[in-house]
Symmetry: C5
Subunit: 381 residues, 5 copies
């Protein structure tokens, strides 16, 4: 007999997912009581070194450097070339502060960069935009979403990006800059920012594909051979879709705000059609997430009705056996009674009939047959 | 006894539907990492040749040609006649690019034409409109929706349409152009585009009719003779309605945008009333889809309550039998005990009474009768 | 024992309702492929003759005629009197076309009049308004809603109305015109149109009252004596409310548009307060429909929980009997064993004790009593 | 054993509530077919006399009269003092018409006053406002909401109020006027109207408190000792909250319209802050109603899961007993067989073993013990 | 066997929560009948003394006093320094009135301060803003939310705050004022008000963290070892999230109104970016509350399906045992019958066969084995 205890693997996969799920909140609570604008790093402390990479390019060429000092970044604030400064790792708060100081960012912005539990948002300043988004990736081993905060500052001729850890979805963008393929080197910082957001959103499709495959598997399971683990998998998928939705809905708002934004001329006229395209992709991600949620809800209904049906089947088996044999067992019990034939001729004369036993067998066969016909008529099997 | 395993046919029908359901996403993921504006064909590669058909007409007559070269299309960009260029098959990307180049389309537009997982949308350019919709058809054999992307470019005197494969809902439109029936030959390219959208939306009604008949069948089944397969059919229908909804909701937005659009004069004043009519039809499709979803949700409730009721019935049968016979079986067991009458006069004197056996039978009949009366009073049968 | 098969009557009532439910869609599908503006009658073909009635009135008096020819209607297009032309029956399309031609209606309008599966809507033209609504009536025999399309064209001094069949809710309006009671004869065509819409909306209250009574009956049944038929009745009512909602929600939009409409002066200033009143009534209908839906959803919950409770009760009965008698049956079986006393003094010496039998009876009584006390303590009965 | 039949009291309480619930619609249906603006009283006909009370006051003092004739009201239409005319009882339609005629009210207004099934609404006229609201009170005996229509006409220096029956929530307002306490006598008719609406809304809090106490009781029941009556009580409460919501949601709109209203100067500038306060209270009522609905939905879930849990417990008891005793009963049956030892040495030699009986007893004890250990391990008790 | 009675502890925790839940309404009902603007304290009467604390600061330094008389507060209304007057305890209404009189607050404002069941709101006056919010804290012992009303009046150079009891989340703000750390001493009263709201919202994250941990625990329980108490815990958490949501949704509106507010110049230009940050935090709280609600709803589904699954398992055990042993018990009963062999050679000749008993044993073993194979094939264990 199967136990209801879920197998260890499924639970631990869930635990991992739960960890990242609830971790998103714990950071913010640490900060309660501190004055606003105090940057505190609230992600997991990575042992790895913080790495700063500067890519400086124009139509002519591109130069990649990795400054040892945060202060060196100020040198790249020249209006001739587009500069992309990427920071991997956020736990050295004073370093982040120094970089931000080079570009005159507000204290609240520095705080938001370090607090990695931000909701995607767009802050519009006089001479730069500040944008927070989340990069999602799907860990196929632990079968859970992994989420990383991605902050972007777009100035007139520079883009600053801050990530929690090394490794990202921007390799394609880097390759295009270094190789000079596509139009990226001929465009300004606004196109660079767009290209990065496009990479983030495109990556959501990869995540959705993985989730879609899991849903397909679970669907097969639910319809073919539903098991109790299925429910915890449905629960896990549902929670991951909630998480995904939590990062992509506000991203839609952010991109929508970018599209309508025309207070300062950070975004050139030519970028509008690209933002519209990006917006359409975001809507498509949202659409798919909502569709998946609908499908998963439907799967739970199917699972529950299949449990109910299975119970019906089990009870039918039990009932058919019980109802057929209970009268028979009564009859054999009846003729097992020990009423004394010597005391009275009325004491079980059947036992002494010539055809007594065959008649009893026949009676029982008739009862069993009648029952079977009755159940057949009721479509019980 | 029926097994809970679903019959092969139903499952495989579902698999097919699931295939087309999840396929809609996989394409987009292939593209992650490529620069924006890179056209990649993400549908299923058709072995069939790409076919270009040009219909060129004016009030006077109409000419149909099938150019061998994509470059020949440029010749049709003359302002005197209305030209409809239709392309069946999207897997030869370079060919699509050439045709689009003839009409100066944006790189992102070409990308959207080839990526067949687009959400319906409208892009407004200075001298043309770009519109994506989905054609749905119902495959009665596999009992699943089949979906095809349909892209339309409306210029001042031309319409370009791109479809994934040959065979469409535009035969009526073609017939009207060639025969000169109706007002289509007297109107401009805007009316042609409207006529095609109208054909697409009218076709949704055909799909809805097929789904409506399936829902009616399932309703009969649920109310008359609910079976476990019914749930998987309800699940399949629900998923198909989700898919249908996903294509028709954004189509409503598209047509609404067309109605409000007056930035350039691509849409003549006379077309407004036709677009309003089209919009009303789209709303009616949406209304019906939502109604079907409501009805299907209701059917699942009915199915579950019928399962519960059936379980109640089964348990009643079991309980009536068990409760009547359990005391009787106890009594016959009682008088089957072997207490030795020789050891004591108190050892089962009943067995030696003159009316012992008839009395026992009478007692049992009384118990059974009492039970039956009790159940009758409780309305158990 | 009751069968789960629903009684014939209920099912057939449902079938009828389902027929009218799904019929609303089939018509539209017939039209796919035809050019826009082709009027096709898509309702059920009535054998009855099409009947045209003309009521022509002013402050002074009123004249009722039934023209034999559709062309005669043109004569009533005079600006001095208010003319109401009513057409019962829509299957003779060419006749409808002729009448519409007399008043210069658009081809799409004629199409909408004949296609009886329209969603309620308002089309505003330069010199007339076109309005579609649905009249609902409740058929107490088949216990289902019957729905009929009602089209109204309001011109400067005429009102055209088109209905699917004879018999309507406008008898009160006709009586007021002929008798000259109320202010109807002193007002223009706009007031006549309002009076008819008012009659349509007032009739919804009658329908709601019938549905309300059915809900009350079902509520009594669910709380007093829930039966399996109850679920199919709940399902039927739910579907009828969906239908009602589908006709009244867009009607609200129509009346709202009428209230805000001031592009042409078809609606006089004095009519505004009447339209506001009509709008309030429509809102009240919507409110009640939504309330009924809430109540019905609640009833299904109550029904399901009553099924669950009943199952609990049945299982309690079974369990009490089984748990009391199972140990007793074991004991009587024990002393029915045939271990040979001659082979060993340990072979069932109880059978030869002097108080053996009474002791066994006492033991069994004690067990049964203990069990009863245990169940009493657990509040099982 | 408990019967599923609900106790008479609960059902009858529900019937009463249902009566008032469905009564709200029946009135409107009576009117179908009558011309608009025909006042018909559609509430329950009260035998009590209609009572008119006039309170006429200014900063200096206040005078209360009860005019015998409706026509006397016209005398109070003087601009110097504020006049409050209150009418208890609406069944003498001609009397209402006379009073309304004194103040030049529209025929539709008179109709709305008499039709007591109105949805709360605000009609704005040139020189007066017409407002309908509902007063709710909680009948603790029948445990149901009682609802009464309250119509208010606010003119420049008068307020007319119409109620269905005597007895209301305005005693506090009257006391303040007669005693001259507060600022009411120093303010105009607009403040009087506000004070009355404030009393109506404050009274909703009293009703909510009663409902809140009932919900608390039901919550205790559901968590402690769920009974089948609980479901019908939950259903009743849910319906009452639906009713309450139906009266308070449109009231919010009414007060919101009052706040934004500045077409005529009936509402003085000083009244704005009071209306804002009133609006906040209405929002609070709505908030609480929605919260209660959420809680009640949650309670039903808890009830259903507690039923499921209870069924599990019952089935565990049954299963433990059955599974332990079924093998034992088999064994005792086995040794109750009558195979003839004389025919063969293989015919049940156990019966003639020296330790046969004790061995059989031991075997049975071992089986029972094993079963108990197995169930213990599975955490079944 | 476990009882369904919930353990005392859980229920009493729930009672406490329910108390605070329903207490929020009772106060308002006390007030019905009183004139508007009558301040009545409707919270729990605290025995503690009301405590007034005045913090008066400017760039140069800060002074803390605790005035004995309410009237002394008037002295602090000087335009040179920022004054924060905090009042702990609201039960001495006349004292609150005196303080409010010093700053010319409206009577309705005083009423709102004392009535501690207010919904968060913002009232805008000519020379001050009045704002009500709720401070939530999580009581880890009773495992319930504790809620306290917090009123704030922001004038040009003063902030008045009113709390129900001593002890709050403003210690950090006080410390920053006294120590002069951060920019608080260099900014005006508007920044002080912002800092306090920021502390309130930051505290919500602490509460959410506690709730998140509880949800994590319950999730582990539901997936690992679901118990009946779990449901009442889910219910409690759900209710607490409803409460939290009720305080944070209107707070969002309040902060949004503050952001858009520019009627008077109480809020300096520099404060806008801080309010935007605060608004983002509030949105994040709302997001998390909604996510938690989704997760909890999912947990209930998982719990119910795990109950259903468990029932299936129990019934399988019962059915396997019953179905295997019922035929065996019939057979042993059969050969326990007492048909007299002397009367007829057909009376149970099996009993006298040489291999009779072994054959019967073999038959029974075959039946049991067959059953086991059947169940194995049906995947029952």
């Amino acid at each position: 007999m199967k136990q209801i205890n879920l197998p260890r693997l499924a639970v631990s996969g869930l635990d991992q997912a739960a960890g990242s799920f609830f971790r998103l909140l714990k950071g913010s609570a640490l900060k309660a009581g501190l004055p606003p604008g105090t940057p505190v790093h609230v992600g997991e402390h990575k042992s790895a070194e913080v790495r700063i990479t500067v890519i400086d390019y124009d139509r002519g060429g591109c130069r990649i450097t990795t400054p040892a000092e945060a202060g060196e970044c100020a040198a790249f604030r020249n209006p001739d070339t587009v500069t992309w400064i990427n920071v991997d790792g956020l736990h050295r708060v004073e370093l982040i502060e120094k970089i931000c100081a080079c570009f005159d960012l507000h204290a609240l912005t520095v705080e938001d960069i370090c607090n990695t539990t931000q909701r995607p948002k767009l802050d519009i300043f006089d001479d730069h935009l500040f944008l927070v988004a989340r990069m999602q990736s799907y860990n196929p081993v632990g079968r859970c979403l992994e989420s990383e905060q991605f902050s972007l500052v777009l100035g007139r001729d520079f883009v600053l990006t801050f990530q929690e850890k090394a490794g990202d979805v921007f390799d394609g963008v880097r390759r295009r800059i270094t190789s000079g393929k596509g139009k990226i080197r001929t465009m300004g910082a606004d196109y660079l920012a767009y290209a990065m957001l496009d990479a983030v959103v495109d990556n959501y499709f990869t995540v959705l594909e993985s989730l879609g495959e899991e849903i397909e598997n679970i669907e097969d399971e639910v319809l073919g051979n539903p098991r109790p683990e299925t429910v915890s998998q449905i629960h896990r998928l549902r929670r991951e879709l909630i998480l995904l939705r939590k990062s992509v809905w506000p991203l839609r708002e952010v991109i929508n705000s970018l599209m309508r934004h025309d207070e300062n001329d950070l975004l050139g006229a030519g970028i509008a059609i690209y933002l519209k395209d990006l917006y359409d992709h975001t809507i498509q991600v949202i659409d798919t997430v909502e569709t998946y949620r609908d499908v998963i809800t439907g799967l739970l209904d199917v699972y529950l009705s299949s449990l109910s049906h299975r119970l019906n089947e089990i009870m039918k088996v039990l009932t058919i056996f019980a109802v057929i044999f209970i009268p028979l067992t009564f009859i054999v019990g009846l003729y097992g009674m020990n009423f004394d034939p010597a005391s009275s001729p009325w004491n079980m004369p059947e036992l002494r009939w010539y055809w007594g036993y065959p008649a009893a067998l026949g009676l029982m066969a008739a009862i069993a047959g009648g029952m079977l016909i009755y159940f057949k008529r009721k479509n019980w099997f």
